[in-house]
């Protein structure tokens, strides 16, 4: 057993190394850069047999990733935040090429204003692209999920690129114990990459997915891509079972904690959900029947599993670490879709928290539970809430007062 302390970034690099990747197009961005630094150091020391190329932008990096995967090699890359957005044109394009590879995104909030800290608006921007999405809650899950992501992405029924998401700072720079999969077992689990009919070669030019099509053929290709992403739901369980049999750890498409008899449920993505685990424990110690549901697989969205789990509960709080301007929390909307029109649907409440790395305290989870109980007793969902305290507003007002004073000063002179 090689259980050791690794940062989330290091665990991501190990995932790529254990998956025996051949090619790594790279471009640095905080808080992701350590991943490519680790990989570069291993390649430099001859510990890893792969080619790492630094590109001039994420746009080129993702183009190179898709192109290389089309030529039959296994590809890994990583980015974050503005980098993912800068490459977004190619995120959508390469998914249409049906080229499987794995890209890690280290979640960081988007401009403007600029932040270095984590939230999920970056990864949500890739939601509709065709990339599969796995969201990790621990450093252990990062290494494991990269192996699982290659199996999913390269599956003959799927053959789509995959994003593995981890939260900046809360995972990227945080060391936790990680039980690294044995290299030989990992190699055997991931297997050889079979590019099937992807035969792009420098000496035999080929135009891939570049045809300009009318609505009929265009719709066909787009819908086939959608169906391919949905196929990942059908093949996921077998891959997860195989992983559990080989490595002794279960990574289901949804992670359920204390859900058997839960009346009040938190629904969350990513590493902040482990805080909700603590809250569930404390609430249970205080006599509550509380539970936590965490989708690990976000694309495809495990709608039926979520429906089965939430049906019949008293009330559910979806805590989104993202915000869709003019609508609210994305996971809340999608959970509502999963629950609409069924008998015994729970009351659904929306909370936005953790934007730009803003912490969510245990007291806030307890207060959310109280609001859920009141909602259940009233028979009506509460209005959406941004987790924001009076103290935070006071600090914000101080900043505004400084800005106002400076503004006045500048305009007087």
């Amino acid at each position: 057993m090689t259980r050791k302390l690794l940062t989330g970034n290091s665990a991501a690099a190990w995932g790529a190394r254990l998956a025996q990747v051949d090619y790594i197009p790279a471009f640095p961005i905080t808080p992701q850069t350590e991943i490519i630094e680790d990989l570069a150091a291993w390649i430099d020391r001859g510990e890893m047999d792969a080619r790492l190329v630094t590109l001039e932008s994420e746009h080129s990096m993702i183009t190179a990733a898709g192109s290389a995967a089309s030529s039959g090699v296994r590809v890994f890359t990583a980015t974050s935040s503005q980098g993912l957005l800068y490459g977004m044109e190619m995120v959508y394009a390469v998914a249409g090429w049906r080229t499987p590879f794995v890209m890690v995104n280290v979640s960081r909030g988007l401009a403007s204003p600029i932040t270095l800290e984590s939230d999920h608006n970056d990864i949500m921007a890739a939601r509709d692209s065709g990339f599969l999405q796995i969201h990790c809650a621990t450093c252990q899950e990062i290494a494991d999920s990269i192996l699982i992501a290659y199996r999913l992405a390269e599956h003959a029924d799927v053959r789509m690129p995959a994003l593995v998401n981890l939260d900046g700072f809360y995972l990227s720079f945080t060391r936790e114990p990680v039980d690294l999969p044995d290299a030989a077992k990992a190699r055997s689990f991931v297997g050889e990459y079979d590019p099937e009919n992807l035969q792009f070669k420098g000496n035999s030019p080929l135009s891939q997915a570049m045809a300009v099509l009318g609505g009929g053929p265009y719709s066909y290709f787009r819908y086939e891509a959608h169906l391919a992403v949905q196929q990942a739901l059908a093949v996921y369980d077998d891959i997860a079972d195989e992983f559990a049999a080989e490595f002794g750890r279960r990574h289901d498409m949804i992670d359920c904690y204390q859900m058997d008899d839960a009346e009040y449920v938190f629904v969350m993505l990513g590493s902040f959900s482990t805080k909700a685990r603590d809250a569930v424990d404390s609430l249970r110690a205080a006599g509550w029947k509380a539970g936590l549901l965490r989708p690990r697989l976000f694309r495809p969205f495990p709608q039926m599993r979520i429906r089965q789990q939430l049906q019949g509960r008293r009330a559910v709080a979806v805590i989104d670490q993202n915000i869709s301007m003019g609508m609210g929390g994305v996971l809340h909307s999608e959970s509502a879709t999963a629950l609409y029109g069924i008998k015994d649907a729970p009351l659904l409440a929306s909370y936005i928290g953790g934007l730009g790395g803003r912490d969510i305290s245990q007291q806030e989870f307890f207060a959310i539970a109280n609001e859920l109980r009141q909602a259940y007793e009233r028979g009506e969902s509460p209005p959406p809430r941004l987790l924001y305290t009076e103290n935070e507003m006071t600090e914000m007002r101080k900043l505004q007062a400084i800005a106002q004073a400076e503004h006045a000063e500048i305009h007087e002179t």
Binding site: L5, T174, P177, T274, Q362, E364, F366, E406, I410
Partner: protein, 311 residues
């Protein structure tokens, strides 16, 4: 769970301290989480790192809001609000300060319920951004105060985390760490872990509904030039440049142009003047001054002199 925070300046090795302690806890059979929290990533700027250690899986994440132990490598940070050293400190907290001064003095200054201990500062160094061995000393103090880590395990962790350095330096760090174990021997086990907060008796978070405010108010407008004035980056300084006006030839365009922070102003009489609220102490001016009229002295010594003058 033990919740431990290390505070220091960039360059002093607080990340290293947290990693040594994290590795030691892990090798002693604990579940561990350790992380640095960078503010401004610069030598001399306040930074902190933290360690959580427990016998069960750790689900708590992020900055430690209620520490069981706070260790401060550089006592000039204690009174600096931006460093956040005293954040969440309560009667349960053990507060260990690397200082020449006594626990009683700090107790009076801070007027806190926390238990204050002193890690006796070693011989003063000129530039505190390079306090020698402080990472290992802080980690060793935490190991002794929690009584959770044997000397043997701590020494192995130091060797593991400093493995990239040469053997002499590693050996010196190990010797010094052992000395800290002795120094802390009266307080072994003083730091006690705490459990999860209660869901029955908790302080209401005090949420508010954030009101709509139009773009006249809520646009992110930065009034150029003025914003950075408010951030006193001079607090990062560990060495202070001082102009000796007897030797200054008044070629203020040279030092004021070389200053990367624009912290040297030109007075109406044509002579330069250093803005100590914003000088970060890089000492580029000392190197560039043609008549060698700018010298540097340790910041802590300068502050002691100032305190002596004013009191």
């Amino acid at each position: 769970m033990f919740r431990i925070r290390f505070h220091g300046r960039g360059g002093q090795g607080m990340k290293t301290a947290s990693r040594i302690l994290g590795t030691a806890f892990f090798n002693a059979g604990y579940e561990v989480q350790d992380a640095p929290r960078y503010g401004a990533e610069r030598r001399g700027a306040p930074i902190f790192a933290y360690v959580r250690a427990a016998k069960t899986v750790i689900n708590e994440r992020g900055i430690i809001s209620h520490p069981d132990l706070v260790i401060v490598a550089d006592d000039t940070l204690v009174g600096m609000p931006a460093a956040g050293v005293t954040q969440g400190v309560d009667a349960h907290t053990v507060f260990l300060i690397n200082s020449h001064e006594s626990a009683e003095t700090w107790q009076q200054r801070l007027n806190t319920e926390a238990k204050i201990l002193i890690l006796a500062a070693q011989e003063e160094v000129e530039d505190r951004a390079a306090l020698p061995y402080i990472g290992s000393r802080c980690a060793a103090a935490a190991a002794a105060l929690t009584n959770a880590i044997s000397q043997k395990i701590l020494l192995a962790a130091i060797s593991e985390e400093l493995g990239h350095l040469n053997q002499d330096i590693i050996d010196q760090n190990r010797d010094i760490a052992l000395g800290v174990f002795d120094e802390m021997s009266d307080f072994t086990g003083l730091v006690e872990p705490r459990g999860l907060p209660s869901a029955t008796d908790f302080v209401d978070p005090g949420w508010i509904d954030v009101p709509f405010e139009n773009a006249q108010v809520s646009n992110i407008a930065i009034h150029a030039g003025a914003t950075s004035v408010k951030v006193r980056t001079g607090l990062w300084r560990t060495m202070r440049p001082i102009i000796n006006y007897e030797n200054c030839s008044g070629c203020a365009w040279i030092c004021s142009t070389y200053c990367p922070d624009g912290a040297i102003n030109v007075r109406t009489d044509g002579y330069p003047e250093i803005d100590y609220d914003h000088c970060k102490g890089c000492l580029v001016c000392v190197a560039q001054c043609p008549p060698h009229a700018i010298e540097s002295i340790p910041e802590h010594a300068a502050r002691e002199q100032e305190a002596g003058v004013t009191s």
